[in-house]
Symmetry: C2
Subunit: 234 residues, 2 copies
């Protein structure tokens, strides 16, 4: 196994407040895995043998319903933990995690979690803080779904993606991984058709520029206006 360096994880907010020596001990027990685009990191209902840290790439976390619907729960960015089912008392993964692009992840066996949690209190505190913010996110999603219309939800989703993985390009801010209309639909609880119509309309107004699996937000602030329901309509 290639030697893993603590520099891989030093500076990540999850590992904040942990001594260098401890970082070494932590990294020492991980193995690093390369995951090709469209391959899955872990799968819904599968035994949760490991938990993961995304080092590079982007991962889409998706839940499938029995009746064949797919709902995207979140996108994971580099530096984030995923698959921490064990820390929450679960024995199986609650969702599928699939690589949106080629990715590099670190994996630790789940049985290390209790040890880590007691040996490195700030690690566990940071992790639960993150869990808290995900709970928060999920509640926000519920609220959005209950009170906002599709147009606002899609605008919000784009803004969230921009904030998370925006990359400056000359035309504006590019969402830095391939994302289809269908993907956006699964994030917002609508259909690819409606997303397509919205993007077309926004493109006409100069808010965004989009192509096949590619979205560039040209005028974020005007998109914010739409997200708040103060768009041209209404």
């Amino acid at each position: 196994m290639a030697s893993l360096d603590r520099s891989l994880i030093a500076g990540l907010s999850v590992f904040e407040g942990i001594a260098a020596a401890d970082l070494d001990r932590i990294v020492g027990q991980a193995r690093s895995i390369r995951v090709a685009r469209d391959q899955s990191v872990f799968e819904q209902e599968q035994e949760a043998h490991s938990f993961f840290l995304l080092l590079d790439g982007h991962v889409r976390v998706v839940k499938s319903t029995p009746d064949g619907h797919e709902v995207t729960v979140r996108y994971i960015s580099p530096g984030e933990l995923m698959g921490i089912a064990g820390a929450l008392g679960r024995t199986t993964y609650p969702a599928n995690a699939v690589a949106a692009v080629d990715c590099v992840v670190l994996a630790w066996p789940s049985h290390l979690w209790p040890t880590f949690a007691t040996s490195f209190p700030s690690f566990s505190a940071n992790t639960y803080k993150m869990v808290g913010s995900r709970l928060q996110d999920a509640h926000m999603r519920v609220i959005e779904m209950s009170t906002e219309q599709v147009e606002q939800r899609v605008a919000n989703a784009l803004l969230k993606l921009v904030k998370q993985s925006g990359k400056k390009v000359e035309e504006g801010i590019l969402i830095d991984f391939p994302i289809s209309r269908q993907d956006i639909a699964e994030m917002t609880g609508t259909t690819l058709h409606t997303v397509s119509r919205l993007l077309s309309a926004w493109e006409d107004q100069g808010l965004v520029k989009s192509g096949r699996q590619r979205v560039v937000v040209v005028e974020p602030h005007r998109l914010v206006v739409v997200a708040e329901g103060r768009g041209s309509k209404r």
Copy 2:
């Protein structure tokens, strides 16, 4: 202050695996509070000075949006923790908690959380397990909102309430606290009008019996059929 007895909390799943002496120490630091119906236990954005355990009654956890919408996040039943913002690294409460009926709660100052967590590992494990299942719940809600229609969501909400707080009466299973059409609408992301129409229809079919702030589920299994989208329609 009346002496609080460890029997108040022994047997609750959150305190599972904790020695009697420790239970005494835990209870010893709590104060018990009576909360009248419609009064709030804690409020959104307020400083999270305490966390709570509901001993008796039912509490509705509601989030308010800036534009005046209210979304019910969950109902708390006796034995459940609430307001554990501190455990998740938050300093303010994320929602309002209002008593659906007269309630009795135990309250601990938030600053005790870190001590409790390290002194009673199983307490913290149990708590995070509960957080995990709430995260799970929230995701389920998002999925429901994205993929199911109102009829199914309302049926699901009733079934959840029945499971949580159902009380057998001669006509069927009563939801054991006052709940209005409006309340159900806020749980399911719809309007009181639609809820009223659904309940009327179900009453005609003999699935439920309902009155002012009162719902009795007569035939749970048939309601399950509706919840799964295999109702008479479609």
